[in-house]
Amino acid sequence: MAALQSALPHRHAAPQPVTEASAAPAGVAVTLDGITHRFGASTAVDNVTLEIKAGELVALLGPSGCGKTTLLRILAGFQTQTLGRVVIGDRVVDSLPPAGRGVGIVFQNYALFPHMTVAQNVAYGLEARGAAKDAVRARVEAMLALVKLDAMRDRFPKQLSGGQQQRVALARALAIRPSILLLDEPFAALDKNLRLDMQIEIKQLQRRFGITTIMVTHDQEEALSMADRIAVLSRGRLEQFGTPEDVYDRPATLFVNGFVGSANQLKGRVLRVSGGVAEVALEAGTLLSAVTPDAGLAVGDPAILCVRPENLRLATEAAPQQIAGTVELALPLGPVVVYEVRTPDGGQVKVTEPRVAGAALRAPGTPVRLHPVSPQTCRAFPVSAGA
């Protein structure tokens, strides 16, 4: 282990030595401060501010073209932002080239050097930083053991499977002991089973080394399962930055509510607002209370009330704050049943219910009454906001 620790002379101040021996988090904090990036006239990133703690795993989540890759490239130093600052640790790094930022990056297509073997790929960064020959060899061995590719050391990238290539890319990025790991859609090219394996593997590595990790993804499940915090982006703007529970249970905007998980969007008009709770008269003919994170909602405004299918209950007896409807379709999906319910105003509402083995499904045409579990599970947003 001593050999490993001395494998890399630190020419640049930023990277902290990270070894298997050191269990303590060695990542650094990262701050993106008011980052705006324009390509010609179009704005790819619009005034994004993110404060990422040392050792945190943050997912940048958003639909295609929302500026995730651009943000990552700005952080790595491949692109210079139009406005704003990037702070790594306690240094503003805007004038530093990628090599000086202590950043390890895994590209979406892995970008392995096709003319080099696995071992040569992993050694590239160490050699570029002028490490001694036997130190390089020891470090390469250690990294290949870490990603379980010892046997593949002399193969060329195209002789490897997608998952193996990704592990090489990871080993190559980690070999230089970065204090920040950037992953651009790291699992997009992998099939489902392999994806789960790699997600677990990366999460474990990240925990073990305590590397601050920023992962781009447009897969919400991936973000929810892996990230400590999720930054949801839409059209270059930051919609919400919070823990998976925050983002899923307390979405800040209509966009986040619709993009992360699924949500029923019910149209209505605000009847009363007080203390962050709005009462909305739905077009479906019911009055429902909902939390409103948007202060802009006033009495009389048209509003959209979001409620997730799993937060709705089907009832048979009448009670206040219920939506009447008829079952249109029942989809048994293993652990749950999804019901599509037609409301009196012609809208459709999805409800999920746990499925009990042997229990009969509600037949299409059955009249039902729906109610949310609690007002806290309903969110009211202004109509104009977001998508």
């Binding site: 790595a76 990056i105 050097f113 096709p114 003319h115 570029a128």
Partner: protein, 297 residues
């Protein structure tokens, strides 16, 4: 879909492809015929003529080849021609690579300007381009006028009819043949590779030597191949810029045919020249195949 339909669906395109390939070769017939009549036949004729033992073409024998290889002068001409090609190819690569690299790094407007500059020589006749070089290099040419007026030279330098002048002219004339294949390979390179290199701590030079250059080898080989073959056989440029001062294989063949009417000897040295150039080209090709493997990954 029934099993039969699936089988048909699977078999369908494959069968169609096979029949298509089966008939497609007939499309190549006209060209093949053209080649047979205007390329293979003359080539065979050339071989036949080279096998006459005397200039009057009365006896058969290998005398012409014996004569060629028996005379140091002939070997010197062949050697200097092949060497001329090496010099021109090396210089074209030296100037062409940065040009191609600049092209792939430029914005769209700069690219159109550059491609025009690169292609322009191909759009003008070799004769015109060569005469331009005579104007540039001549006794009262642009270079000499400039040198004299700047006081850098007392008397006009002899630039025309020197090997240096010839090499310079050939480099310019053959430049597109080098630059175009280079542009093709360089623009196919994944830009993320250089980003990866930079993030790993390699400077731009290291990235170039370790990543860009090895991965552009196929383009280098293709460019060198074309440039070499074109510059050793560049009869017009060699004759006009080289003047009568230097003798290279193409003029040598021309002399033997047109001036001396020694058709068998001309045919023999043509065959020797062709085989030598083919040898060099094949060597390049071998290099190319060795380097191609990892690029089209």
């Amino acid at each position: 879909m029934t099993a039969a339909a699936i089988t048909a669906g699977l078999a369908g395109p494959a069968t169609a492809a096979r029949t298509r390939i089966g008939r497609e070769w007939t499309l190549a017939l006209p060209l093949a015929a053209f080649f047979a009549v205007f390329f293979v036949t003359p080539l065979l004729l050339l071989v036949a003529v080279s096998l006459f033992a005397d200039a009057e073409m009365t006896r058969f024998g290998l005398d012409q080849y014996v004569r060629f290889f028996g005379d140091a002068f002939n070997l010197a001409v062949l050697g200097s021609t092949l060497y001329l090609g090496v010099k021109v190819t090396a210089l074209t690569l030296l100037f062409g690579y940065p040009l191609a690299w600049l092209y792939t790094r430029s914005g769209p407007r700069m690219q159109s300007a550059l491609i025009l500059v690169i292609i322009l020589p191909l759009l003008t006749s070799v004769v015109v381009r060569t005469f331009a070089w005579i104007v540039i290099l001549g006794r009262d040419g642009i270079v000499n006028t400039l040198l004299l007026s700047l006081g850098l030279a007392e008397t006009p330098l002899r630039l025309l009819y020197t090997e240096g002048g010839l090499v310079a002219a050939l480099v310019q004339v053959q430049m597109p043949l080098m630059v175009l294949p280079l542009i093709t390979t360089l623009s196919r390179l994944d830009p993320n590779l250089l980003d990866a290199s930079a993030a790993l701590g390699a400077g731009p030079w290291r990235g170039f030597w370790k990543v860009t250059l090895p991965l552009s080898l196929p383009g280098i080989v293709a460019g060198c191949l074309l440039t070499y073959a074109a510059s050793v056989t560049a009869f017009i440029t060699q004759s006009l810029v080289g003047g009568g001062q230097m003798l290279f294989m193409p003029q040598y063949i021309y002399q033997q045919t047109i001036t001396l009417h020694n058709w068998p000897f001309a045919a023999a040295i043509s065959i020797v020249f062709m085989v030598s150039v083919l040898g060099v080209v094949m060597l390049f090709n071998l290099l190319g195949r060795a380097s191609k493997g990892y690029v089209h990954a």
